[in-house]
């Protein structure tokens, strides 16, 4: 080592330190404080020495060994430390998983004894100690211990856990407790051992061994000083006495360091040693800061108590004391004492929640998997076409291919492809298939002929719309159902639940991820399909099984875009082949694929709702103006009872179409009538075909006006569809 003392960076300047120093000791050695002040325990209990270390905030500097390459920045005296939008290069944090028989937390006297005894009894013991680099920060069911170690996170599933974490020292609560120069007894011993000059030191409570100081008898009243303590005031026999000093040593007693066991209600976790000792509470505080992490004062406790929060758990939540960096280590004994003085009863300590220490998001999320989003078999085709992909309903889908208006025009004027592989696709078969679907849907399924299909709503028992889709009849006892992309999973759960409930003879097969689907839509769609082998295209709401481009395809004629549309359902492993063939064959027809952005606009011009976007949790068919999709005359179905009972009641909500001159307002814009907000826009688009804005939106106050204001402009309620109201183009 060079003659020059080793240094680390403190607030940008180089601070020397001695071998063996922690960052906190090194800062104290320079005559400063790791924060602005406050009693230091130097044992990792309190939050009074936290600082930002190498870009991580709230690090306990008393537990951080000083190193030459450290970059330490003190937190601002007021407010939070700097927030970084993104940590450059967050380190990959490894998680190691271990099984243990008995895990002992704390390698002090009681922990070592408990471990030795268990070993003698033939048990396998894992001993964890923060000082030896295994800091337990949480106990979960399992029981599972979450441990922070230098090499990463450790998750230990143990049969049994012993908490032997010892006791923390009581902090003072009185005016001036935020000054520098205040140390607990054990902190004073550590500081003295490290060779720190404590100046003229006094102790409240017994003087700690080997630390030169004067013990003062009496009750602590307040600390005095500017920044650092210069005197302490104590009261004895009713008289206040002021003593000048440079350092005050607080030997006020101890409290169990039992936070990990308080996290483990109902788990096989026991507590031994001083962590289990019923230490006496300190005297009830009368003035000053109780919770140094949050800044909760005795006056704040009084405030929340007066408002009726007369229980420890409520006082904690209302005053926030105990919710800061140290999770109650400093304040809990005082809050309990304060409540005991108020209520005459000592409350049990509050339940602890993981984690007991600040851990980084990286540490908390290490080894946690993000949701997996599905990709259609055309994913790479979309990327090759320059698609901007986004997540919708659990899938990656193309939002646009760079020009959503050109995509829109291709549908309206030529032919276009849409990837609808994400739609829910189910086969229902069996002797009771019709009976099952009759109960499931509000439409009369028995009147759907083989080879035909019908649009249907799916209702819950409350009569609320939960999804929509097509019912295609393939045989007397066999149907293909489609559902929305985001609703498919729920629809499957819904159907399987009712299958069990009704005990009907029904078979259900989920083909959602087995079949891809391409929507061929536009005035030249039939022409394109003729080129790939669809000689006799189905008419509107018919469906056929056919061989197209050399593969089996289920062709469903329907329309969501307003133009003639053919949904081609086919095996996922041949989807890219079909997509490429269609694009190649349609090149001279002006074909181009369309993304969701164009699709949303196209269907909006037709007034077709998107479940979940235009609908709400409690949307009935009536509120959508879709009573035509409900057959109250047919046999009973889910939701019928609720619809029958509410049919006669007045309804103050309606989803309506709206038109407006000029550009469309943002989706979500408030809808106002005579200056009062009465609803909001759910979908909007500036239609190049119509030359004005079209919208869907909720009116939630009756009588429903015909003229409203959106975005400060006049809009008119108009019955959809806005485009091709007779539906001639879809049937062409």
């Amino acid at each position: 080592m060079s003659a020059e003392a080793a240094r680390f960076l403190l607030d940008g300047r180089r601070l020397p330190y001695e071998p063996g120093d922690t960052v906190a000791i090194a800062i104290l050695r320079s005559g400063e404080h790791p924060r602005t002040g406050g009693t230091l325990c130097l044992a990792g209990d309190c939050g009074n020495c936290v600082a930002e270390v190498d870009g991580i905030a709230y690090v306990r500097t008393c537990q951080t060994p000083a190193r030459p390459d450290l970059d330490v920045r003190r937190h601002p005296a007021d407010g939070a430390p700097a927030w970084y939008d993104a940590t450059p290069d967050p380190p990959e944090i490894e998680v190691r998983r271990e099984e243990a028989d008995l895990a002992v937390i704390g390698a002090g006297r009681s922990g070592t004894a408990a471990a030795a005894e268990a070993k003698r009894a033939g048990r396998q013991v894992t001993l964890l100690d923060a000082a030896q680099g295994a800091e337990v920060v949480a106990v979960y069911a399992g029981p599972t211990l979450i441990v922070r170690a230098p090499e990463g996170m450790l998750h230990i599933r143990a049969s049994e856990i012993v908490v032997a974490t010892g006791a923390a020292e009581i902090h003072p609560v009185c005016p001036g407790s935020g000054l520098a120069g205040l140390l607990t007894a054990r902190a004073a011993q550590k500081a003295h051992a490290a060779g720190l000059n404590l100046g003229s030191a006094v102790s409240i409570g017994p003087a700690p061994e080997e630390v030169p100081c004067t013990a003062l008898a009496g009750e602590l009243v307040r600390f005095q000083g500017e920044g650092r303590v210069s005197a302490v005031v104590i009261r004895q026999d009713g008289e206040e006495r002021t003593t000048s000093c440079d350092t005050v040593i607080l030997n006020l007693g101890r409290s169990p360091r039992d936070i990990l066991s308080r996290m483990a209600d109902d788990l096989p976790v026991s507590v031994v040693g001083s962590a289990a000792e019923p230490f006496p509470l300190p005297p009830a505080p009368t003035e000053g800061i109780v919770c140094p992490c949050i800044g909760t004062g005795v006056d704040d406790l009084e405030g929340v108590w007066k408002r009726g929060f007369n229980e420890l758990e409520l006082v904690k939540r209302a005053s926030l004391s105990g919710t800061g960096t140290c999770q109650g280590s400093a304040c809990l004994p005082h809050v309990r004492a304060w409540i005991a003085a108020r209520s005459g009863k000592i409350p049990e300590p509050f339940t602890a929640r993981p984690a007991s220490r600040q851990i980084t998001l990286g540490e908390a999320g290490a080894d946690v998997y993000l949701d997996a989003f599905r990709r259609t078999p055309l994913h790479d085709e979309h990327l090759a076409e320059g698609a901007q992909m986004d997540r919708f309903g659990g899938w990656w889908r193309p939002w646009n291919y760079g020009d959503h208006l050109a995509e829109y025009q291709a549908v309206r004027e030529a032919v276009s492809l849409g990837d609808v592989s994400t739609l829910g696709k189910f086969v229902v078969a069996g002797a009771d298939a019709v009976e099952f679907l009759q109960r499931l849907y509000p439409t009369d399924v028995s009147t759907i002929r083989v080879g035909r299909s019908r649009y249907a709503l799916l209702l819950n028992e409350r009569g609320h719309v939960i999804d929509d889709g097509m019912i295609c009849r393939e045989a007397d006892d066999r149907f293909v159902l489609t559902f929305t992309t985001g609703g498919a999973g729920n629809a499957e759960m819904w159907m399987r639940d009712w299958m069990e409930t009704w005990g009907l003879s029904v078979l259900l097969l989920d083909r959602t991820m087995s079949l891809a689907a391409i929507n061929v839509t536009g005035p030249r769609a039939a022409e394109l399909l003729g080129r790939v082998g669809l000689i006799d295209p189905p008419r509107f709401l018919q469906h056929v099984h056919s061989e197209l481009a050399g593969m089996p395809v289920h062709v469903m004629r329907l329309s969501f875009t307003g133009e003639a549309s053919f949904e081609l359902h086919h095996p996922v492993d041949r989807s890219a082949e079909l997509w490429r063939t269609l694009l190649a064959e349609g090149a001279d027809l002006g074909i181009r694929p369309h993304g969701l952005q164009a699709l949303f606009a196209l269907r909006l011009e037709k007034g077709h709702v998107i479940i979940g976007m235009d609908t709400e949790m409690d949307t009935t068919p009536r509120r959508l103006g879709m009573d035509w999709a409900v057959n109250m005359e047919k046999a009973d179905f889910i939701g019928r009872e609720a619809l029958a009972r509410t049919a006669a009641l007045p309804d103050r909500r309606r989803l309506v179409g709206l038109t407006m001159d000029g550009a469309a307002p943002t989706e979500g814009s408030p809808i106002a009538s005579k200056g009062t907000v009465i609803g909001h826009v759910t979908s909007s688009f500036t239609s190049p075909t119509l030359g004005h804005a079209v919208m869907l939106g909720w009116l939630k106050r009756s009588p429903f006006p015909n003229e409203v204001e959106v975005d400060g402009r006049r809009a008119s309620v108009a019955e959809p569809p806005f485009y091709d109201p007779e539906g001639l183009r879809a049937r062409a």
Partner: protein, 77 residues
């Protein structure tokens, strides 16, 4: 963490399941419309203690199961 035993797939963390709510003691409105009381549809018992619940093993067999759970301790009974 809550662990659930799926009769088809075995012991799995609850994160693999979708919660289907209390198994309501509701007369089926479709098969027995006359007996149905709207309160049963709208109201949940929300018991502090043992409830009978439906869970759907979404990440596995994709089937429902019925279990009894103590809502107080969040353990499968």
């Amino acid at each position: 963490m809550l662990w659930i035993t799926c009769p088809t797939c075995g012991e799995r963390p609850a994160s693999e399941f979708r919660f289907g709510g209390e198994l309501p003691h509701v007369p089926d409105s479709v098969t027995d419309p006359d007996a149905r009381n709207l309160d049963w549809v709208w109201m949940q018992d929300n018991v502090d203690g043992i409830t009978t619940e439906r869970w759907f093993h979404a990440a596995g067999c994709r089937r429902w199961l019925t279990l009894r759970r103590d809502t107080h301790t969040d353990r499968v009974a």
